[in-house]
Structures are given as structure tokens and as C-alpha cells.
Amino acid sequence: MTAPRHIVTPMRRVRGLGAARSGTRDFWHQRVTAVALVPLSIAMIVIAMSLMGRSYAAVAQILGSPLVAILVLLFVAASAYHMWIGMQEIILDYVHEDKLKLLSLMANAFFCAVAALACAFAVLKLSFGV
């Protein structure tokens, strides 16, 4: 019997999850959100362009109407997740110092969470009119 060529167990190898323990999850989720964001971005451009230059009352009413609000919420959710993964990719490429990397990754998560929640709250407030 020959000695094992490496210390990784067969189970670990067959799962193929790699050092980050998450395998290709980020890659796949980046694709799913990207596909979603193509029509959602087009919808967002149409919404933004049709609201530019309108009165405040009209903007508030249209942004709060169900169809528009749902599209904006979907755009915000998909964007926040997509940009979280994307910026994480950039940070991991360029930031090598451990502490700074950790802080950057945290700041990235916070920024995306705050941006998503702020946008979503504003749209929901317009929708429910309180």
C-alpha cells in the first residue's frame, strides 16, 4: 500500500468546496443576480427617465405604486447582493494585509446592507404612505 499523496480526505475532495468552504457559490450567485439585473436595470432606467422632471407629488405617487415599487425593490435587492460579491472580489484581489482585508470585507457588507435597507425602506414608505 502506497502512502497517501495528500492529507485531504476523499470526502473533502469530492465535495470540492475549496479553501473558502463555499465552492463556486459566489460565482453562481453573481451570475443569477446578473441575469436578473439585465431586465431590472432596463426597468429602472425606464422608471427613472419617466420620473425625471415630474412634480414631487407625481414622483412620490408613481414610485409608491405597486408595480413600480416591486420593480425598484427587486432591483435594489439584486443590486445589493451583486455588488457585495463584486466588491468582495475586488478587495480579495488587491487587499492583502490581514487586518485591512478583514475591515474592508466588513465595511463592504455594511455598505451593501445599509444601501439596500435604506432604498427598500424609502420605497416601502412611499408605497404604504405612512
Binding site: M49, M52, A60, A115, L126
Partner: protein
């Protein structure tokens, strides 16, 4: 990093970085994809401002409108428009590549050019529509 530093200390050659390669169209569009992605990341602040202003009331919305119709605001919005379109077209290019198509030299060049020309053309079209329907600069 520790690895890179260890290599540098030992005087071993490092893998060359961007500046050593001749700039190609596909390389430039790859860099542009990353830069526009990062720009859109911070562009989210503009979207959040717009939505929060609309949810806050007429005064807050007037402040946003003042900014976005100022020269700086327009330049930012123009950049946002182009970045969004370029990143979208670049993303579609990546999705095509994910299906294992478009890797031939001519196809790569065509897709890279299409990303740049398409995004600039669409930006011009959208802004022309915007100015025509809103009666130009006010």
C-alpha cells in the same frame, strides 16, 4: 501577501503585473468592467438619495432635484448612465462566455468593441430621449 513578500526577500522573480503587457481591447474592457462595477457600487448612494428624498417630502426632493440638475449632478448622472450600460453589456459578454461561446480571436475583439460602442451609443440615445421629452436643459 506573505508569499509575495517571501519571494521578494529571496530575490525571486514575481509574476508580472498589468503594466508589462501591451494594452489590448479585451484587456481595456475587462478593466473598464471592474471600474464601472466599482462606480455603480458608489452610485447606489445616488439611488438611495433619490428614493429617500422622495420618501421624505417636497423639501428633501427639491434638494435632490437641485443637485441632479446642476452641472456636477448631470455629469455624475451621465457617468452613471454610461457605467450602468457598459457594465450591463460587459456582463452580457461574460454570460456569453459562460456558455463557452465567443472565445475566438475575432469574436473576442467584436464583443469587446460592441461593449464600448454599444454603451456609448445607448447613452447618447437615452440622453437624447431625456432631453427631447423633458424640453432640454432647464
Amino acid at each position: 501577501m506573505a508569499e509575495i513578500e517571501a519571494h521578494a526577500r529571496a530575490g525571486r522573480p514575481l509574476s508580472p503585473h498589468l503594466q508589462i503587457y501591451r494594452v489590448t481591447m479585451t484587456m481595456a474592457m475587462s478593466i473598464a468592467h471592474r471600474i464601472t462595477g466599482a462606480a455603480l457600487y458608489f452610485g447606489m448612494i445616488l439611488l438611495a438619495w433619490w428614493l429617500i428624498a422622495a420618501a421624505s417630502g417636497p423639501n428633501a426632493y427639491a434638494k435632490f432635484e437641485w443637485f441632479i440638475s446642476s452641472l456636477i449632478g448631470r455629469v455624475v448622472l451621465l457617468g452613471y448612465t454610461w457605467a450602468l450600460l457598459h457594465h450591463m453589456l460587459g456582463g452580457i459578454r461574460h454570460l456569453i462566455w459562460d456558455t463557452l461561446h465567443g472565445f475566438e480571436p475575432a469574436e473576442r475583439e467584436m464583443l469587446a468593441a460592441a461593449t464600448l460602442i454599444g454603451s456609448i451609443a445607448l447613452t447618447i440615445v437615452l440622453w437624447a430621449i431625456g432631453y427631447l421629452t423633458m424640453g432640454g436643459a432647464r
